[in-house]
């Protein structure tokens, strides 16, 4: 499809077919990815009864109206959910980062004896876990059951993220830390004044990972949060989108469901172009070993 601009180079026919096929495949892929999203968007602006009698994919709203949005914006649950989620994302990510930074710093030091033991302790917990019930019982035992903090404290450190940060810190030249130490700098000064600026890209990546995982999580909230006023957004969404056609949830027309999806997803998608770069970098930091 796209022709090579270089004038003298002749591309053999076989390769030209290959490139054309490649481009066609990519177009098909993009269509497959975008159509469901377009369907949701079109549905959210459609008339409720018109959608009910319609079948198949929508690419354009039926009898365009914003009625569904009016009813979503009037739904108090969604806004309390938003508020709760915002709290969890902001406070949770902040604490996660503090803990992960300090942990990564200590694990990347080499002057103390128990270094191997601590590293082993941390990494082993990535590959083996106690499972759902023991975890639930521990959280209950600690007194976090039914508290919003149950969604923050038990998931403070994610070992995968910790490993990303530790790897970045190991890349900081020793001489920097040593000269700071000679100047009498303590650990916290070294960590926040010297190492932190140097691992800023990895720091950004890891905070994004934490923020997104807090934003998306619903399972732990389902286990631990019992009061509706404390529900995070994803639990409210679950009621509206998943349970609505069962007896547990409330009946909601499909167009309202679509509008809810849009309201709950657009903020993240708006931030997406700005954070994409960091995410991409993070995947590389985390996965490419050698």
């Amino acid at each position: 499809m796209k022709k090579n601009k270089g004038p003298a180079i002749r591309i053999p026919l076989g390769e030209r077919i290959f490139y054309a096929a490649d481009n066609v495949l990519m177009v098909i892929l993009c269509v497959c990815i975008l159509v469901p999203l377009l369907h949701v968007l079109a549905g959210s602006f459609s008339d409720g009864t018109a959608y009910m009698t319609h079948s198949g994919l929508l690419l354009w709203p039926l009898k365009p109206t914003t009625a569904a949005y009016a009813s979503v914006l009037g739904n108090k649950d969604i806004w309390t959910g938003y508020g709760n989620t915002l709290f969890i994302v902001v406070v949770g990510t902040g604490l996660d980062m503090l803990f992960t930074l300090v942990a990564a710093y200590v694990l990347s030091r080499r002057e103390y004896m128990l270094k191997k033991l601590f590293n082993l302790l941390v990494v082993f917990s990535m590959y083996f876990s106690g499972g759902m019930i023991p975890f639930f019982l521990v959280v209950k035992e600690v007194g976090l059951y039914k508290s919003t903090w149950a969604l923050i404290i038990p998931s403070l450190v994610n070992v995968f993220n910790l490993v990303i940060l530790r790897t970045a810190m190991l890349g900081v030249p020793d001489s920097l830390e040593e000269s700071a130490q000679l100047d009498g700098a303590g650990h916290l000064t070294i960590l926040f004044r010297i190492i932190f600026p140097l691992v800023l890209p990895s720091f950004a990546v890891v905070s994004l990972y934490y923020a997104v995982s807090h934003w998306n999580s619903w399972f732990n909230a389902m286990l631990f949060i019992k009061e509706r006023s404390k529900y995070p957004l994803q639990l409210i969404l679950r009621e509206i989108l998943i349970l609505s056609d069962t007896d547990e949830g409330m009946m909601m027309s499909e167009t309202i469901q679509f509008a809810t999806i849009v309201v709950a997803t657009v903020p993240i998608l708006c931030a997406y172009p700005f954070i994409q770069r960091y995410f991409v970098k993070g995947v590389m930091v985390g996965a490419v070993k050698g």
Binding site: G56, L58, V106, R110, M113, G131, I268, F279, A287
Partner: protein, 323 residues
Amino acid sequence: MSISAEKRAPVPAAQARRKPFGARFKRDLRKNWKLYLLFLPILCYFLVFKYGPMAGLVISFQNFKPAKGIGGSAWVGMKHFQDFFRDPYFRRLIVNTFRIALSTLVFSFPSAIVLALLINELRSKKTSRVVQTISYVPHFISTVVLCGIIRDLVSRTGGVTMLLHQLFGMPVTNMLYEPGYFVPIYIVSDIWTNIGWNSIVYLSALTAIDQELYEAAKVDGANKWHQIIHVTIPCLVPTIVIMFILKVGKMFDVGYEKIMLLYTPLTYETADVINTYVYRRGFAENVNYSYSTAVGFFNSVVCFTLVFVTNKLSRRLSGSSLW
């Protein structure tokens, strides 16, 4: 993943080797107490929330009653494990877990590699950027929302149901209520969500390939196809191996959150996996903490063994490994 990459320099404190451990540790503690103090909260966190649950696995050998606690509950040895192996659902759970895990390995896993290869071969930088940006989008949609969209698309009047009916004459039903469609729905939506995202790793590995290798291959008369087979893919193998080990380790942890949002008793036949069963026996139906813990324990052990074995194998076969 550099799990064991902290090899920097030999520990300078080696002069203290002869002294007994206690004395050495005391000295170390005096010298590095600030470091230990810094790690204390983290240590506590790991002991309570990661190792606490591991210690809690003992209740799988008990008839645990929350009111009596671990100390007061009766011990029953391996009873719950034996019960699980005799459970009428045992076979179904194992088969379903394997079916979903293997389907992910066979379809989702290579799809990202293929996409990376295809993006890499695009001639226009701009097209490749657009494709990448679009293909990452679904990754940012939460599981709950994703499942909400799926439910609509495969319902009786949903877009996908209609499309399949018009193209292949498939019957018009709510596909989520048909056991036969569950795994395809799960896999296709998994690919939709993750194909772009998972391709990033391979793309970054591809950009690291030395262009001279291609030039040399061209001089030797290699066409596009030969170049892909003999240069690109071999250069990707280490990354593929690492990702594969990670994937196999997570294999038995099949996305139970997604399954829980999609399945109904009508589709348990193909959709119920070990983890969803752990949840139901722990919180929903016929609740039995000890039994549920035993089932989860079994799952954890299988997972751990899988990572361990794959890692060993891959180290022997290809030289790449996690640790």
